[in-house]
């Protein structure tokens, strides 16, 4: 008998940590992982509400969020590889000039 | 008190201990079987000195590996270097817990299922364990801080991730026929005789061969064992491992083989179903005998293929996975769903 609000507070905490990571970290890959953490936090909210209202569509939304996250991860990592090839660095602070 | 939760915990603990013991012995004797069979195919004897027919050879191997010097690398990333073999062998041993070996038996009035965990999503659990199994290899190669290990690990993870797709899709045909992800349901839907099993009766012959090819690639066995090929990359991702850690990778590989054989038996060959005849005790032991026979057939097939086929080159391997197996698997799903939809 766990109250619904416990799950939602956990989701909020994970989202907050994801935002902190996104704003604080300097390595591109870690930045990207913070985005994935935020997406996971939202997934948890969806599933918690689906269990509360007994609606299976919550699970379907999670399915779609995962698909979009997978597509975004693939393209984002390809971009990171391309950036690394030209700038030779993974630090976002160094990728600050339009032309090398 | 059959329904008390302590009974459940006790039964599960006993089942796990028994299965673990049986599995580890099976792994040890699969190694013996492999050396004997490959030896005979290559017109030589294989191990004969240690015990009759070399039957104590696995014991000797075990003692040797235990007593070997455990080389610890100074340049390796220690936490992952030590954790990777543990992860590999742990996952390999976990995946056997959802595989049903027989019907329920009754021990002193308590019904005991011959399956450690009868979950609704057993097939997805197996796919999940396969997906996480990539980490054992990838992290082992990276943490060893050596170029051969890293190359072997990168190749192995790319190969495993590519063939996972065909593995999953080849099982979808059977899922469409059965309508449930539970392995027990899948077995119960198949009948006693070979023409009632999913391979022939369900029309999943192509899916069976796709599953076999994908499983060979997932367990990194010949003809897909470039990541650990001896003449290519020294020893691939387990180059820098010695003694017990190497033994753990070795055990993980053979345990994965046994698991894949069990899953193929359950999904395609009808599990423990087979002609049942004879008096009472024989009748009870026959399903287990059929299950073990079918698993043994798969292990023999694995070893036979190892002794016969040459190794794929890496680009041939990736081309085969993406350009041949994946379209075939998708076509199989389409045709099966079409036939089922038209049939109902």
């Amino acid at each position: 008998m766990v109250p619904l609000s416990y799950y939602l507070v956990l989701s909020a905490i994970l989202f907050g940590l994801g935002v902190t990571g996104f704003l604080v970290k300097r390595n591109i890959i870690t930045l990207f992982m913070s985005i994935e953490l935020m997406l996971n936090a939202v997934n948890l909210s969806f599933v918690a509400f689906a269990a509360h209202w007994g609606a299976l569509s919550g699970h379907v939304y999670v399915f779609f969020v995962m698909v979009v996250a997978a597509a975004e991860a693939a393209v984002g990592l390809a971009i990171i590889i391309a950036v690394f090839r030209t700038r030779q660095t993974l630090n976002v602070d160094r990728v600050n000039l339009l032309k090398l | 008190m059959p329904n008390h939760w302590l009974t459940f915990v006790a039964i599960t603990a006993v089942k796990s201990a028994v299965l673990l013991g049986v599995l580890l012995t099976a792994v040890a004797y699969t190694v013996w079987l492999e050396r004997k069979v490959i030896g005979h195919i290559q017109n030589r004897w294989g191990p004969t000195r240690v015990g009759p027919f070399g039957l104590l050879q696995p014991l000797a191997d075990g003692v040797k590996l235990l007593l070997k010097e455990d080389i610890s690398l100074s340049g390796a990333y220690q936490p992952l270097y030590i954790a990777a073999p543990i992860l590999a062998v742990g996952l390999a041993l976990t995946s056997i817990s959802v595989i049903p070996i027989g019907e329920s038996i009754t021990v002193r009035g308590v019904p005991v299922q011959l399956q450690i965990a009868d979950v609704n999503i057993a097939l997805l659990v197996l796919l999940g364990v396969t997906s996480i199994g990539v980490y054992g290899i990838a992290l082992a190669g990276w943490s060893s801080n050596s170029k051969y290990s890293l190359l072997g690990a990168l190749r192995a993870s790319a190969q495993m991730v590519s063939y996972e797709l065909s593995l999953g899709l080849s099982l979808v045909g059977v899922l469409i026929l059965t309508g449930s992800l539970s392995l027990r349901e899948i077995v119960n839907r198949q009948g006693e005789w070979p023409w009632q099993w999913n391979v022939i009766g369900g029309g999943q012959l192509v899916a069976f061969f796709i599953y076999l090819a994908a499983a060979f690639a997932e367990t990194n066995r010949i003809p897909f064992d470039l990541p650990e090929g001896e003449t290519e990359l020294v020893a691939g991702y387990h180059t820098e491992y010695s003694s017990m850690k190497f033994a753990m990778f070795f055990m993980a590989e053979y345990t994965n083989m046994v698991t894949v054989a069990c899953v193929a038996t359950t999904v395609f060959l009808g599990g423990w179903h087979g002609p049942v005849f004879g008096p009472g005790p024989v009748r009870m032991a026959l399903p287990l005998f059929w299950f073990v026979l079918k698993v043994f057939f798969f292990l023999f097939l694995y070893i036979w293929v190892r002794a016969t086929l040459p190794r794929f080159r890496y680009d041939q391997l990736m081309a085969f996975g993406w350009k041949v197996l994946l379209p075939l698997a998708i076509a199989n799903v389409l045709i099966t769903s079409f036939v089922v939809a038209v049939g109902t």
């Binding site: 939602l8 990571g21 890959i29 | -």
Partner: protein, 164 residues
């Protein structure tokens, strides 16, 4: 009671993993912490009766997307993160601001959800039901995400190609 123990244990593992992701300097440690977070989230989904979602969380998120991340970290040989110029004022104002934001969200949630309780096993999401929903009610989003994945594959192949 078992429900509460399991929830608190795995929620603690989630938060510890997320904190570790922030604290660690080497990206491989952050990636492994994120895998741990995803694994414990899968357990929480099982507690909420979402068995299919838990399975695909492990298969897709922890087993494929994070493998991609680890692959890229291994390929690019990412080293430890360097300290670039960070503003002290931003740190002093920023962390409390995020904490305030999370606290506000938590307070709003607790106030509005009242005493809504979730029973263990009260709602079990069947795979068959999800299948019906995806292929009937949500067919258009399904087809659109298929096209999205195709675009992502083409984009990834083009972007990561070497310039010849």
């Amino acid at each position: 009671m078992l429900h509460q123990i399991l929830f608190f244990v795995f929620a603690a593992v989630c938060v510890a993993g997320a904190l570790n992701l922030l604290v660690q300097r080497h990206p491989i440690n952050s990636a492994l912490s994120l895998i741990v977070v995803m694994g414990s989230l899968a357990v929480l989904y099982l507690l909420l009766g979402a068995e299919f979602v838990a399975a695909i969380q492990v298969i897709v998120y922890a087993g494929a997307i994070m493998v991609l991340f680890i692959f890229v970290i291994m390929l690019l040989n990412a080293g430890e993160e360097e300290h670039s110029g960070g503003s002290r004022v931003a740190a002093v104002l920023g962390y409390p601001a995020v904490a305030l934001l999370v606290g506000l969200t938590a307070w709003a949630v607790v106030r509005s959800s009242g005493s809504a309780n979730l029973k263990l096993g009260g709602f079990v999401g069947s795979t068959e039901g999800i299948g019906y929903l995806v292929f009937r009610g949500f067919l258009l989003p399904f087809e659109v995400t298929s096209v999205l994945i195709l675009i992502a594959i083409m984009g990834a192949v083009v972007l990561a190609r070497k310039e010849d």
